[in-house]
Point group: C2
Chain length 362, copies 2
Amino acid sequence: MRRQKNKILPDRIYNLRQKFSSCKIDSLIFFNMSNIRYLSGFTGSEGALLINSDKTILLVDGRYVAQAGAETNGLQIKEYKDKIEGIARTIKKLKLKRIGVEANSITLEIYNQLKNSIPGKVLVALNDELKLLRACKDKTEIALMAKAAEMSSSSIRSLIGKLKPGLTEKDVALQLELSALRAGADELAFSTIVAAGENAAFPHAKPTDRKIKKGDFVVIDFGVKYKGYCSDETCTIAFGKLTGRQKNAYQIVKDAHDLALNYVKADVPATCIDQHVRNVFGEKYERYFVHGTGHGVGLEVHEAPRLASNSTDILKTNMVVTVEPGLYIPGFWGIRIEDTVLVKEKSCEKLTKMDKELIIIE
Amino acid sequence: MRRQKNKILPDRIYNLRQKFSSCKIDSLIFFNMSNIRYLSGFTGSEGALLINSDKTILLVDGRYVAQAGAETNGLQIKEYKDKIEGIARTIKKLKLKRIGVEANSITLEIYNQLKNSIPGKVLVALNDELKLLRACKDKTEIALMAKAAEMSSSSIRSLIGKLKPGLTEKDVALQLELSALRAGADELAFSTIVAAGENAAFPHAKPTDRKIKKGDFVVIDFGVKYKGYCSDETCTIAFGKLTGRQKNAYQIVKDAHDLALNYVKADVPATCIDQHVRNVFGEKYERYFVHGTGHGVGLEVHEAPRLASNSTDILKTNMVVTVEPGLYIPGFWGIRIEDTVLVKEKSCEKLTKMDKELIIIE
């Protein structure tokens, strides 16, 4: 496993240390593996990362000692037999007093065990202070996300020529997945959604043996991971003759999607993007839009910020977010149109590359 | 999404209710999605399941209302806009007083938010009481796990005829994955490990562009999901001429694996299985065995029980566990041999089907 070690990581840790004083902590411990990867480069499935004012210590079990050494740089690696005991010993040795923890990742069990194992020390639950840790991407991350998006878009593009009525949802999902894996995607970013006809009214449907028929909308929601980073894109393809209501609904979702993209730029409250979508849907359609407008994407396919009616996030330059309005008519059909975009100072840039004009396959 | 609804679920909930009195609770709330699937049949990615003495309520957001209705039976479905608020309202309406929570799944943030939103109510952190909830499998689950294991074993088997020096680790992983997906696996159970030569010394290596060479051990750790249930199997294949030390080490890992399997049966402490492996390795080799001997498998690829030196679990009939001793010599090579087995009253039954005698490919 010869890996390229990332030179940006010391800056990420430096930036965190700048927050110690306002958070009233002398150290921070991370359990979330995406955060640990982001801060250290370590890609294992288990471990903890302890940062104080002058040291960064990656704690891992025996499986990961060699890997941690190969993947990281400029930090200390400690092996533990028992995770809590290993962390507690390190905290005591460093004489830490107030240790910040990720409230939205640490489980109640780990929190309680850790608290009980370091009497006299204070665990400080941090939430908003860490929420946007990974939200603004750097150049390297943006390049990897563009590559992941290009891979999934080109898999969708090459699929479309082969689509025809009679294929099952599972057939279509499998073709997409094989094509992306062959093209060099590391893995899927999430379970592929291919949902035809009435199944498309389930926003998170799983592929079944249902065959595509004329008159169907087929929702295809697909994403891959490339070197850890995710892509996320949804196309809705029509088959045969559509009803006037279907055509009209597609155009409304497309209008909502396009309008929302027009408003995505730095300093815009995320909730406004959601509101623009709801304005396009209006009273007649909004009740069929059963989810938020979008979410951040990065090492995880769903991460901060959230683009929803109750979001307090503000868009910032170099955030990467989805915009994915949809309409779902239970028992009949569903439509969703989704792009992943890079937030820029005065606009946004589509990372996913499929054109979203209605495609009808006869 | 016409799904077969599972008739066993009411029994699972009945069994849970029997624990209310000893846990001093009048209700239980689940956030862990594998537990929610196990208890309700709902396969979505977000939600909560509230169980009191006479009601079972599945709380979901708008994306999942239709899907929850299609997948579940005999429970009430409630939609929330805000998760915590929705749960708090339900708890108040049902006049619950002491609500059990899964300490090893609930995050500190959710716990604190929920606690603050239901003043006067008590959240009871449950840990050991729920740890083995899904550990003993029923007939339906065992059949699905046998099918998943058969799929991954037959993908490995058909791969072996095609293996030769010069292929990269990534080539091999891709072939395996394509073959399993084509054969009907729903998805991978975990990131495939194919690790050749010195890379095999990393127990959790990721496939790279390294080519297989003569003299290599190649560790292949592979698993798929079938209808939610995971398989997990590792084969170590040799290429060209091995050194005497390599042959000897393979035989020792094989002996440890075989001996451990001989001891797997109901009522045996899991730590004893681990101890048998360590006894075979002895002083000379034990330090190169850098992980525990195994883990439970089910809806998650790693779940209770744990087969490790510090485990307090006792094996029970119908648990499904892995037995996977390995030796890892940093800078040189690694070996792991793993089967997933069903614990029976007086023995165990291999669900994974590859023979583990040494295979040498010239």
